[in-house]
Protein backbone atom coordinates (compact mmCIF):
# COMPACT_ATOMS: atom_id res chain seq x y z
CA UNK A 1 0.00 0.00 0.00
CA UNK A 2 1.27 3.44 -0.89
CA UNK A 3 0.49 6.40 1.32
CA UNK A 4 1.76 9.94 1.72
CA UNK A 5 2.80 11.01 5.20
CA UNK A 6 3.10 14.63 6.26
CA UNK A 7 5.01 15.99 9.26
CA UNK A 8 3.74 19.44 10.31
CA UNK A 9 6.79 21.05 11.86
CA UNK A 10 5.01 23.96 13.53
CA UNK A 11 5.81 26.51 16.26
CA UNK A 12 2.85 26.43 18.69
CA UNK A 13 2.04 29.48 20.79
CA UNK A 14 2.52 28.76 24.49
CA UNK A 15 -0.88 28.30 26.09
CA UNK A 16 -2.89 29.78 23.19
CA UNK A 17 -5.00 26.78 22.18
CA UNK A 18 -7.29 28.74 19.82
CA UNK A 19 -4.35 30.07 17.81
CA UNK A 20 -2.75 26.63 17.70
CA UNK A 21 -5.99 25.00 16.56
CA UNK A 22 -6.11 27.48 13.68
CA UNK A 23 -2.50 26.60 12.79
CA UNK A 24 -3.49 22.91 12.73
CA UNK A 25 -6.43 23.61 10.41
CA UNK A 26 -4.19 25.68 8.12
CA UNK A 27 -1.65 22.86 7.92
CA UNK A 28 -4.42 20.34 7.25
CA UNK A 29 -5.40 22.50 4.25
CA UNK A 30 -1.83 22.61 3.00
CA UNK A 31 -1.39 18.90 3.58
CA UNK A 32 -4.47 18.08 1.59
CA UNK A 33 -3.13 20.07 -1.34
CA UNK A 34 0.07 18.04 -1.03
CA UNK A 35 -1.89 14.76 -1.18
CA UNK A 36 -1.16 13.79 2.43
CA UNK A 37 -3.05 10.75 3.82
CA UNK A 38 -1.59 10.82 7.34
CA UNK A 39 -0.54 14.11 8.96
CA UNK A 40 1.46 14.23 12.21
CA UNK A 41 1.84 17.24 14.48
CA UNK A 42 4.49 17.55 17.24
CA UNK A 43 4.28 16.82 20.98
CA UNK A 44 1.82 19.17 22.73
CA UNK A 45 1.11 20.75 19.36
CA UNK A 46 -2.19 22.22 20.54
CA UNK A 47 -0.81 23.79 23.71
CA UNK A 48 2.92 24.54 23.49
CA UNK A 49 5.52 22.69 25.53
CA UNK A 50 6.81 24.42 28.66
CA UNK A 51 3.39 24.94 30.19
CA UNK A 52 4.17 24.97 33.90
CA UNK A 53 1.02 26.28 35.64
CA UNK A 54 -0.72 26.65 32.25
CA UNK A 55 -1.03 22.85 32.23
CA UNK A 56 -4.37 22.98 34.02
CA UNK A 57 -5.84 25.72 31.83
CA UNK A 58 -5.10 24.14 28.43
CA UNK A 59 -6.20 20.57 29.19
CA UNK A 60 -9.08 18.90 27.39
CA UNK A 61 -10.56 15.46 26.85
CA UNK A 62 -10.28 13.97 23.36
CA UNK A 63 -13.58 13.48 21.56
CA UNK A 64 -16.34 15.27 19.68
CA UNK A 65 -17.41 16.94 22.92
CA UNK A 66 -14.17 18.93 23.09
CA UNK A 67 -14.28 22.29 21.26
CA UNK A 68 -10.63 21.71 20.32
CA UNK A 69 -11.08 18.19 19.01
CA UNK A 70 -14.44 18.70 17.27
CA UNK A 71 -13.04 20.67 14.29
CA UNK A 72 -10.04 18.32 14.02
CA UNK A 73 -12.28 15.26 13.99
CA UNK A 74 -14.50 16.92 11.40
CA UNK A 75 -11.44 17.66 9.27
CA UNK A 76 -10.22 14.07 9.50
CA UNK A 77 -13.55 12.96 8.06
CA UNK A 78 -14.12 15.71 5.50
CA UNK A 79 -10.53 15.56 4.19
CA UNK A 80 -10.20 11.77 4.43
CA UNK A 81 -6.97 12.40 6.30
CA UNK A 82 -5.71 10.67 9.46
CA UNK A 83 -4.24 13.15 11.94
CA UNK A 84 -1.97 12.84 14.99
CA UNK A 85 -2.07 15.75 17.45
CA UNK A 86 -0.41 16.49 20.79
CA UNK A 87 -2.44 17.78 23.72
CA UNK A 88 -2.87 17.80 27.49
CA UNK A 89 -5.31 15.08 28.48
CA UNK A 90 -7.27 15.57 31.71
CA UNK A 91 -8.92 12.46 33.01
CA UNK A 92 -12.22 12.33 34.90
CA UNK A 93 -10.42 12.34 38.26
CA UNK A 94 -8.24 15.38 37.60
CA UNK A 95 -5.00 13.76 36.48
CA UNK A 96 -3.12 15.36 33.59
CA UNK A 97 -1.23 13.43 30.91
CA UNK A 98 0.90 14.43 27.95
CA UNK A 99 -1.24 12.89 25.23
CA UNK A 100 -0.99 11.99 21.56
CA UNK A 101 -4.25 11.23 19.75
CA UNK A 102 -4.73 9.43 16.44
CA UNK A 103 -7.83 10.72 14.61
CA UNK A 104 -9.43 9.07 11.60
CA UNK A 105 -12.80 9.33 9.87
CA UNK A 106 -14.23 11.58 12.57
CA UNK A 107 -13.30 9.39 15.52
CA UNK A 108 -10.51 9.17 18.08
CA UNK A 109 -8.89 5.84 17.20
CA UNK A 110 -6.23 5.80 19.91
CA UNK A 111 -4.76 7.94 22.68
CA UNK A 112 -1.24 7.40 24.00
CA UNK A 113 -0.13 8.88 27.32
CA UNK A 114 3.58 9.64 27.63
CA UNK A 115 5.06 6.91 29.82
CA UNK A 116 8.43 8.51 30.54
CA UNK A 117 8.32 12.05 31.96
CA UNK A 118 11.73 13.71 31.98
CA UNK A 119 12.21 15.50 35.28
CA UNK A 120 15.86 16.47 35.28
CA UNK A 121 18.10 19.32 34.08
CA UNK A 122 15.85 21.61 32.04
CA UNK A 123 12.81 19.31 32.25
CA UNK A 124 10.06 19.42 34.88
CA UNK A 125 7.31 17.21 33.46
CA UNK A 126 6.94 15.02 36.55
CA UNK A 127 5.93 18.08 38.56
CA UNK A 128 2.75 18.52 36.52
CA UNK A 129 1.91 15.30 34.71
CA UNK A 130 0.88 11.78 35.62
CA UNK A 131 2.81 8.88 34.09
CA UNK A 132 1.04 6.95 31.35
CA UNK A 133 1.02 3.22 32.01
CA UNK A 134 0.37 1.57 28.64
CA UNK A 135 2.26 1.09 25.39
CA UNK A 136 -0.15 -0.35 22.81
CA UNK A 137 -0.14 -0.73 19.05
CA UNK A 138 -3.46 -0.16 17.26
CA UNK A 139 -5.00 -0.85 13.87
CA UNK A 140 -5.54 1.87 11.27
CA UNK A 141 -6.48 1.88 7.61
CA UNK A 142 -2.75 2.05 6.87
CA UNK A 143 -1.83 -0.96 8.99
CA UNK A 144 -0.84 -1.36 12.63
CA UNK A 145 0.64 1.76 14.17
CA UNK A 146 2.32 2.87 17.40
CA UNK A 147 2.57 6.36 18.90
CA UNK A 148 5.43 7.51 21.14
CA UNK A 149 6.21 10.89 22.67
CA UNK A 150 9.77 12.22 22.95
CA UNK A 151 11.30 10.71 26.14
CA UNK A 152 9.32 7.52 25.42
CA UNK A 153 11.81 6.70 22.67
CA UNK A 154 14.91 7.78 24.59
CA UNK A 155 14.18 4.48 26.38
CA UNK A 156 14.51 1.33 24.26
CA UNK A 157 11.51 -0.40 25.87
CA UNK A 158 8.55 1.35 24.22
CA UNK A 159 9.66 1.01 20.56
CA UNK A 160 10.48 -2.64 21.24
CA UNK A 161 7.07 -3.29 22.84
CA UNK A 162 5.22 -1.64 19.96
CA UNK A 163 7.16 -3.78 17.51
CA UNK A 164 6.18 -6.97 19.37
CA UNK A 165 2.59 -5.68 19.54
CA UNK A 166 2.49 -5.60 15.75
CA UNK A 167 3.26 -1.98 14.84
CA UNK A 168 4.97 -1.58 11.48
CA UNK A 169 4.74 2.20 11.48
CA UNK A 170 6.12 4.00 14.54
CA UNK A 171 4.96 7.61 14.74
CA UNK A 172 7.23 9.50 17.13
CA UNK A 173 6.77 13.13 17.99
CA UNK A 174 8.66 15.64 20.13
CA UNK A 175 9.00 19.10 21.50
CA UNK A 176 12.71 18.74 21.97
CA UNK A 177 14.75 21.76 23.15
CA UNK A 178 17.93 21.53 21.09
CA UNK A 179 21.09 21.68 23.20
CA UNK A 180 24.79 20.93 23.27
CA UNK A 181 26.73 23.25 20.95
CA UNK A 182 30.18 22.13 19.85
CA UNK A 183 32.14 22.04 16.62
CA UNK A 184 29.63 19.80 14.83
CA UNK A 185 27.02 21.02 12.35
CA UNK A 186 24.14 19.74 14.55
CA UNK A 187 23.68 20.14 18.30
CA UNK A 188 24.45 17.02 20.35
CA UNK A 189 20.80 16.40 21.36
CA UNK A 190 19.79 16.55 17.70
CA UNK A 191 22.49 14.06 16.69
CA UNK A 192 21.34 11.75 19.48
CA UNK A 193 17.66 11.73 18.46
CA UNK A 194 18.46 11.18 14.80
CA UNK A 195 20.87 8.37 15.58
CA UNK A 196 18.26 6.61 17.75
CA UNK A 197 15.36 6.92 15.34
CA UNK A 198 17.42 5.74 12.42
CA UNK A 199 18.61 2.80 14.52
CA UNK A 200 15.03 1.90 15.55
CA UNK A 201 13.95 1.80 11.90
CA UNK A 202 16.84 -0.52 11.10
CA UNK A 203 16.76 -2.89 14.08
CA UNK A 204 12.95 -3.10 14.08
CA UNK A 205 12.80 -3.26 10.25
CA UNK A 206 9.89 -0.78 10.44
CA UNK A 207 8.95 2.67 9.26
CA UNK A 208 9.79 5.38 11.78
CA UNK A 209 8.61 8.97 11.47
CA UNK A 210 9.60 11.77 13.84
CA UNK A 211 7.81 15.12 13.93
CA UNK A 212 9.65 17.72 16.03
CA UNK A 213 8.46 21.25 16.63
CA UNK A 214 10.30 24.52 16.00
CA UNK A 215 10.13 28.00 17.54
CA UNK A 216 11.24 29.33 20.92
CA UNK A 217 9.83 29.31 24.44
CA UNK A 218 11.82 31.73 26.55
CA UNK A 219 15.35 30.53 25.87
CA UNK A 220 14.48 27.05 24.59
CA UNK A 221 15.11 26.60 20.86
CA UNK A 222 13.14 23.72 19.35
CA UNK A 223 15.12 22.22 16.51
CA UNK A 224 12.77 20.77 13.90
CA UNK A 225 14.58 18.47 11.48
CA UNK A 226 11.57 16.14 11.35
CA UNK A 227 12.40 12.95 9.51
CA UNK A 228 11.19 9.62 8.15
CA UNK A 229 13.18 6.38 7.93
CA UNK A 230 12.44 3.21 5.98
CA UNK A 231 12.61 -0.43 7.20
CA UNK A 232 16.20 -0.67 5.94
CA UNK A 233 17.10 2.14 8.35
CA UNK A 234 17.64 4.61 5.54
CA UNK A 235 16.57 8.25 5.69
CA UNK A 236 13.60 8.96 3.42
CA UNK A 237 13.19 12.68 3.94
CA UNK A 238 14.15 15.35 6.44
CA UNK A 239 12.79 18.81 7.12
CA UNK A 240 14.82 21.97 7.78
CA UNK A 241 16.19 22.85 11.20
CA UNK A 242 14.67 25.76 13.19
CA UNK A 243 12.09 26.69 10.50
CA UNK A 244 8.43 25.83 10.12
CA UNK A 245 7.75 23.33 7.35
CA UNK A 246 5.39 20.71 6.05
CA UNK A 247 7.59 17.69 5.34
CA UNK A 248 6.02 15.08 3.08
CA UNK A 249 7.01 11.77 1.52
CA UNK A 250 5.22 8.84 -0.10
CA UNK A 251 6.00 5.43 1.39
CA UNK A 252 5.23 1.92 0.21
CA UNK A 253 4.30 -0.45 3.05
CA UNK A 254 5.40 -3.39 0.88
CA UNK A 255 8.95 -2.25 1.72
CA UNK A 256 8.33 -3.94 5.09
CA UNK A 257 8.14 -7.41 3.55
CA UNK A 258 11.11 -6.87 1.33
CA UNK A 259 13.26 -5.64 4.23
CA UNK A 260 12.17 -8.59 6.38
CA UNK A 261 13.00 -11.19 3.70
CA UNK A 262 16.52 -9.83 3.71
CA UNK A 263 16.79 -9.35 7.45
CA UNK A 264 14.30 -11.54 9.39
CA UNK A 265 14.91 -9.95 12.79
CA UNK A 266 11.17 -10.01 13.58
CA UNK A 267 10.85 -13.71 12.66
CA UNK A 268 13.84 -14.59 14.84
CA UNK A 269 12.95 -12.42 17.82
CA UNK A 270 12.84 -14.59 20.96
CA UNK A 271 10.07 -13.11 23.06
CA UNK A 272 9.89 -16.18 25.31
CA UNK A 273 13.60 -15.87 26.13
CA UNK A 274 13.10 -12.16 26.76
CA UNK A 275 10.17 -12.85 29.08
CA UNK A 276 11.98 -15.53 31.08
CA UNK A 277 14.98 -13.33 31.60
CA UNK A 278 12.83 -10.31 32.48
CA UNK A 279 10.98 -12.36 35.08
CA UNK A 280 14.27 -13.59 36.54
CA UNK A 281 15.63 -10.03 36.70
CA UNK A 282 12.43 -8.77 38.34
CA UNK A 283 12.37 -11.60 40.87
CA UNK A 284 15.99 -10.79 41.77
CA UNK A 285 14.96 -7.27 42.78
CA UNK A 286 15.73 -5.60 39.46
CA UNK A 287 12.97 -3.03 39.93
CA UNK A 288 9.24 -3.10 39.31
CA UNK A 289 8.38 0.44 38.22
Amino acid sequence: MKLTIGLAQIAPKLGDVDANLQTHLDYIDRAQQAGVDLLCFPELSLTGYYLKDLTYAVATQPGAGSPVFAPLLAASQARNMDIVVGFVDRDARGRFFIGAAYLSGGTVVHVHHKVYLPTYTLFDEGRYFAWGDAVRAFDTRFGRVGLLICEDFWHVGPPYLLWLDGADLLLMHSASPARGIDAEARLSSVRWVEMMNQAYAGVLTSFVTHCNRVGFEDGFAFGGGSAMYDPDGELIVQGPYYEEALVTAAIDTDDLHRARYRLPLLRDERTGLMMREMQRILSNGGGTR
Binding site: G15, I181, A183, A185, R186, Y242
Partner: protein, 285 residues
Protein backbone atom coordinates in the same frame (compact mmCIF):
# COMPACT_ATOMS: atom_id res chain seq x y z
CA UNK B 1 50.08 15.43 36.53
CA UNK B 2 51.68 17.50 33.78
CA UNK B 3 50.43 15.10 31.16
CA UNK B 4 46.99 15.12 32.67
CA UNK B 5 46.52 18.86 32.62
CA UNK B 6 47.57 18.93 28.99
CA UNK B 7 44.96 16.30 28.27
CA UNK B 8 42.18 18.04 30.15
CA UNK B 9 43.01 21.41 28.65
CA UNK B 10 43.06 19.91 25.19
CA UNK B 11 39.73 18.23 25.95
CA UNK B 12 38.16 21.48 27.17
CA UNK B 13 39.62 23.46 24.28
CA UNK B 14 38.21 20.99 21.78
CA UNK B 15 34.79 21.12 23.43
CA UNK B 16 34.84 24.93 23.48
CA UNK B 17 35.06 25.09 19.70
CA UNK B 18 31.63 26.03 18.38
CA UNK B 19 30.13 25.67 14.96
CA UNK B 20 29.65 29.40 14.49
CA UNK B 21 27.33 29.03 11.52
CA UNK B 22 24.95 26.97 13.66
CA UNK B 23 25.26 29.34 16.63
CA UNK B 24 24.58 32.31 14.33
CA UNK B 25 21.52 30.67 12.83
CA UNK B 26 19.99 29.81 16.22
CA UNK B 27 20.75 33.17 17.84
CA UNK B 28 19.46 35.20 14.88
CA UNK B 29 16.24 33.18 14.94
CA UNK B 30 16.05 33.61 18.73
CA UNK B 31 16.38 37.41 18.55
CA UNK B 32 13.84 37.69 15.75
CA UNK B 33 11.35 35.42 17.49
CA UNK B 34 11.64 36.87 20.98
CA UNK B 35 11.51 40.49 19.76
CA UNK B 36 8.61 40.06 17.37
CA UNK B 37 6.33 37.87 19.42
CA UNK B 38 6.12 40.48 22.17
CA UNK B 39 4.96 43.02 19.59
CA UNK B 40 8.25 44.76 18.72
CA UNK B 41 10.21 44.88 15.48
CA UNK B 42 13.20 46.85 16.66
CA UNK B 43 16.14 46.69 19.04
CA UNK B 44 18.28 49.15 20.99
CA UNK B 45 21.93 48.30 21.69
CA UNK B 46 24.62 50.12 23.64
CA UNK B 47 27.82 49.97 21.59
CA UNK B 48 30.87 50.07 23.84
CA UNK B 49 33.38 49.39 21.11
CA UNK B 50 33.92 45.92 22.58
CA UNK B 51 33.47 42.52 21.04
CA UNK B 52 30.23 41.52 22.80
CA UNK B 53 28.16 44.53 21.81
CA UNK B 54 29.62 44.43 18.30
CA UNK B 55 28.58 40.79 17.91
CA UNK B 56 25.10 41.53 19.25
CA UNK B 57 24.71 44.40 16.77
CA UNK B 58 25.67 42.11 13.88
CA UNK B 59 23.25 39.40 14.99
CA UNK B 60 20.40 41.86 15.64
CA UNK B 61 20.92 43.57 12.28
CA UNK B 62 20.62 40.21 10.56
CA UNK B 63 17.57 39.27 12.63
CA UNK B 64 15.61 42.50 12.32
CA UNK B 65 17.19 44.41 9.45
CA UNK B 66 19.81 47.16 9.98
CA UNK B 67 17.22 49.97 9.90
CA UNK B 68 15.55 48.41 12.96
CA UNK B 69 18.63 48.36 15.17
CA UNK B 70 19.52 51.55 17.04
CA UNK B 71 23.17 51.73 18.11
CA UNK B 72 24.06 54.07 20.95
CA UNK B 73 27.55 55.19 21.87
CA UNK B 74 27.49 56.29 25.51
CA UNK B 75 30.98 57.58 26.39
CA UNK B 76 32.23 59.05 29.65
CA UNK B 77 35.06 61.57 29.53
CA UNK B 78 37.59 58.89 30.52
CA UNK B 79 36.42 56.49 27.80
CA UNK B 80 39.14 55.86 25.26
CA UNK B 81 38.93 57.28 21.75
CA UNK B 82 39.63 53.77 20.46
CA UNK B 83 36.37 52.59 22.00
CA UNK B 84 34.42 55.34 20.28
CA UNK B 85 36.15 54.65 16.97
CA UNK B 86 35.54 50.91 17.21
CA UNK B 87 31.85 51.45 18.00
CA UNK B 88 31.67 53.72 14.95
CA UNK B 89 33.16 50.93 12.82
CA UNK B 90 30.26 48.70 13.81
CA UNK B 91 27.75 51.45 12.96
CA UNK B 92 29.42 52.03 9.58
CA UNK B 93 29.76 48.34 8.74
CA UNK B 94 26.07 47.69 9.40
CA UNK B 95 24.58 51.03 8.36
CA UNK B 96 22.37 51.19 11.45
CA UNK B 97 20.73 54.33 12.88
CA UNK B 98 22.79 55.66 15.75
CA UNK B 99 23.42 58.40 18.26
CA UNK B 100 26.11 59.38 20.73
CA UNK B 101 25.19 60.57 24.22
CA UNK B 102 27.95 61.75 26.57
CA UNK B 103 27.10 60.57 30.09
CA UNK B 104 29.72 62.80 31.79
CA UNK B 105 27.38 65.71 32.65
CA UNK B 106 24.81 63.22 33.97
CA UNK B 107 27.06 61.30 36.36
CA UNK B 108 29.48 64.03 37.49
CA UNK B 109 27.03 65.72 39.90
CA UNK B 110 26.56 62.42 41.72
CA UNK B 111 30.32 61.81 41.87
CA UNK B 112 30.74 65.38 43.26
CA UNK B 113 28.11 64.76 45.93
CA UNK B 114 30.22 61.88 47.34
CA UNK B 115 33.86 63.00 46.95
CA UNK B 116 35.29 59.82 48.46
CA UNK B 117 33.63 57.65 45.83
CA UNK B 118 35.87 54.83 44.58
CA UNK B 119 36.20 53.49 41.06
CA UNK B 120 33.85 50.59 41.75
CA UNK B 121 31.02 52.91 42.74
CA UNK B 122 31.71 55.22 39.82
CA UNK B 123 31.81 52.33 37.40
CA UNK B 124 28.47 51.03 38.66
CA UNK B 125 26.90 54.49 38.35
CA UNK B 126 28.14 54.81 34.77
CA UNK B 127 26.77 51.39 33.87
CA UNK B 128 23.41 52.30 35.40
CA UNK B 129 23.34 55.71 33.70
CA UNK B 130 23.83 53.92 30.38
CA UNK B 131 20.93 51.63 31.30
CA UNK B 132 18.71 54.68 31.91
CA UNK B 133 19.51 56.06 28.45
CA UNK B 134 19.07 52.69 26.71
CA UNK B 135 15.68 52.14 28.33
CA UNK B 136 14.60 55.70 27.50
CA UNK B 137 15.63 55.16 23.88
CA UNK B 138 13.85 51.82 23.97
CA UNK B 139 10.61 53.76 24.43
CA UNK B 140 11.55 56.53 21.96
CA UNK B 141 12.73 54.16 19.19
CA UNK B 142 10.20 51.42 19.94
CA UNK B 143 12.80 48.71 20.36
CA UNK B 144 13.73 46.11 22.96
CA UNK B 145 17.06 46.53 24.76
CA UNK B 146 19.27 43.62 23.76
CA UNK B 147 21.91 42.79 26.36
CA UNK B 148 25.46 41.74 25.67
CA UNK B 149 26.18 39.42 28.59
CA UNK B 150 28.16 36.25 27.89
CA UNK B 151 28.31 33.05 29.93
CA UNK B 152 31.73 33.78 31.44
CA UNK B 153 30.88 37.21 32.78
CA UNK B 154 27.40 36.17 33.95
CA UNK B 155 28.88 33.22 35.87
CA UNK B 156 31.67 35.30 37.38
CA UNK B 157 29.26 38.11 38.18
CA UNK B 158 31.45 40.52 36.25
CA UNK B 159 28.52 42.81 35.58
CA UNK B 160 26.69 45.69 37.24
CA UNK B 161 23.32 44.70 38.63
CA UNK B 162 20.65 46.89 36.98
CA UNK B 163 23.44 48.30 34.79
CA UNK B 164 24.78 46.30 31.86
CA UNK B 165 22.92 43.26 33.19
CA UNK B 166 19.59 45.02 32.53
CA UNK B 167 18.13 43.93 29.20
CA UNK B 168 15.19 42.09 27.67
CA UNK B 169 17.48 39.21 26.71
CA UNK B 170 21.11 38.15 26.65
CA UNK B 171 21.47 36.21 23.38
CA UNK B 172 25.16 35.47 24.07
CA UNK B 173 24.50 34.32 27.62
CA UNK B 174 25.15 30.64 26.88
CA UNK B 175 28.45 31.17 25.05
CA UNK B 176 31.71 31.49 26.96
CA UNK B 177 33.88 34.47 26.09
CA UNK B 178 36.26 32.33 24.02
CA UNK B 179 33.30 30.83 22.12
CA UNK B 180 31.86 34.29 21.60
CA UNK B 181 35.16 35.41 20.08
CA UNK B 182 34.91 32.63 17.50
CA UNK B 183 31.38 33.71 16.65
CA UNK B 184 32.34 37.40 16.44
CA UNK B 185 35.20 36.59 14.09
CA UNK B 186 33.02 34.56 11.76
CA UNK B 187 30.10 36.99 11.54
CA UNK B 188 32.27 39.89 10.43
CA UNK B 189 33.10 41.94 13.54
CA UNK B 190 35.98 44.29 12.56
CA UNK B 191 39.55 43.13 13.29
CA UNK B 192 40.50 45.96 15.63
CA UNK B 193 37.63 44.92 17.92
CA UNK B 194 38.57 41.23 17.79
CA UNK B 195 42.19 41.75 18.73
CA UNK B 196 42.14 44.33 21.53
CA UNK B 197 42.12 43.26 25.19
CA UNK B 198 38.58 43.11 26.63
CA UNK B 199 37.84 46.08 28.90
CA UNK B 200 34.86 47.56 30.70
CA UNK B 201 36.52 50.90 29.86
CA UNK B 202 35.36 52.44 33.12
CA UNK B 203 38.75 53.98 33.77
CA UNK B 204 41.97 54.40 31.78
CA UNK B 205 43.98 51.22 31.30
CA UNK B 206 41.35 48.91 32.82
CA UNK B 207 41.25 45.39 31.37
CA UNK B 208 38.92 42.53 32.30
CA UNK B 209 41.69 39.99 32.66
CA UNK B 210 43.84 42.19 34.95
CA UNK B 211 40.84 42.93 37.12
CA UNK B 212 39.65 39.31 37.28
CA UNK B 213 43.15 37.96 37.83
CA UNK B 214 42.98 35.26 35.16
CA UNK B 215 42.72 34.94 31.41
CA UNK B 216 39.43 34.16 29.70
CA UNK B 217 41.10 31.21 28.02
CA UNK B 218 41.96 29.57 31.36
CA UNK B 219 38.80 30.43 33.22
CA UNK B 220 36.60 29.27 30.34
CA UNK B 221 38.27 25.85 30.39
CA UNK B 222 37.61 25.55 34.11
CA UNK B 223 34.05 26.88 33.95
CA UNK B 224 33.27 24.56 31.06
CA UNK B 225 34.33 21.54 33.15
CA UNK B 226 32.62 22.71 36.36
CA UNK B 227 29.37 23.90 34.78
CA UNK B 228 28.84 22.02 31.52
CA UNK B 229 30.52 18.75 32.44
CA UNK B 230 29.63 18.91 36.16
CA UNK B 231 33.13 18.26 37.47
CA UNK B 232 33.39 18.59 41.22
CA UNK B 233 35.99 21.05 42.53
CA UNK B 234 38.09 18.09 43.67
CA UNK B 235 37.92 16.51 40.24
CA UNK B 236 38.97 19.78 38.61
CA UNK B 237 41.99 20.01 40.92
CA UNK B 238 42.82 16.35 40.29
CA UNK B 239 42.66 17.06 36.56
CA UNK B 240 45.46 19.56 37.01
CA UNK B 241 43.95 22.99 37.70
CA UNK B 242 45.54 24.91 40.58
CA UNK B 243 43.56 24.53 43.80
CA UNK B 244 43.62 28.25 44.59
CA UNK B 245 42.41 29.07 41.07
CA UNK B 246 39.57 26.56 41.28
CA UNK B 247 38.51 27.71 44.74
CA UNK B 248 38.63 31.39 43.83
CA UNK B 249 36.67 31.01 40.61
CA UNK B 250 33.95 28.91 42.21
CA UNK B 251 33.69 31.28 45.19
CA UNK B 252 33.10 34.09 42.71
CA UNK B 253 30.40 32.10 40.91
CA UNK B 254 28.67 31.38 44.23
CA UNK B 255 29.11 34.88 45.71
CA UNK B 256 27.56 36.52 42.64
CA UNK B 257 24.63 34.19 42.21
CA UNK B 258 22.35 36.94 43.54
CA UNK B 259 22.93 38.79 40.28
CA UNK B 260 21.47 35.89 38.31
CA UNK B 261 18.16 35.53 40.11
CA UNK B 262 15.14 37.82 40.60
CA UNK B 263 14.73 39.61 43.95
CA UNK B 264 13.52 37.27 46.69
CA UNK B 265 9.89 37.08 47.74
CA UNK B 266 9.03 35.69 51.17
CA UNK B 267 6.39 32.99 50.91
CA UNK B 268 3.57 33.60 53.35
CA UNK B 269 0.51 32.86 51.21
CA UNK B 270 -0.70 29.62 49.62
CA UNK B 271 0.57 30.59 46.17
CA UNK B 272 3.53 32.86 45.70
CA UNK B 273 5.12 34.64 42.76
CA UNK B 274 8.40 32.97 41.91
CA UNK B 275 7.80 29.91 44.11
CA UNK B 276 4.61 28.26 42.92
CA UNK B 277 3.07 30.79 40.56
CA UNK B 278 5.02 29.53 37.60
CA UNK B 279 4.76 30.70 34.02
CA UNK B 280 7.32 31.34 31.31
CA UNK B 281 7.80 34.91 30.12
CA UNK B 282 6.49 33.72 26.76
CA UNK B 283 3.11 32.96 28.36
CA UNK B 284 0.53 33.14 25.57
CA UNK B 285 3.17 34.05 22.95
Amino acid sequence: MIGKIHDIKAHADAKLIVNTELARKILVAFIRDEVMKVGFERAVIGLSGGIDSAAIAFLAAEALGPANVFGLRLPYEASSQDSLDDAQKVIDALGIPHDTVDITPMVEPLFARFPDMNNMRKGNIMARQRMIILYDQSEAFGGLVIGTGNKTEILLGYTTLHGDSAAAMHPLGDLYKTQMRQLARDIGVPDSILTKPPSADLWAGQTDEAELGYTYENVDRLLYLLVDERYSLKEAVAAGFGEAFVTDVWARVQRNHFKRVPPLVCKISKRTIGHDFLYLRDWGK
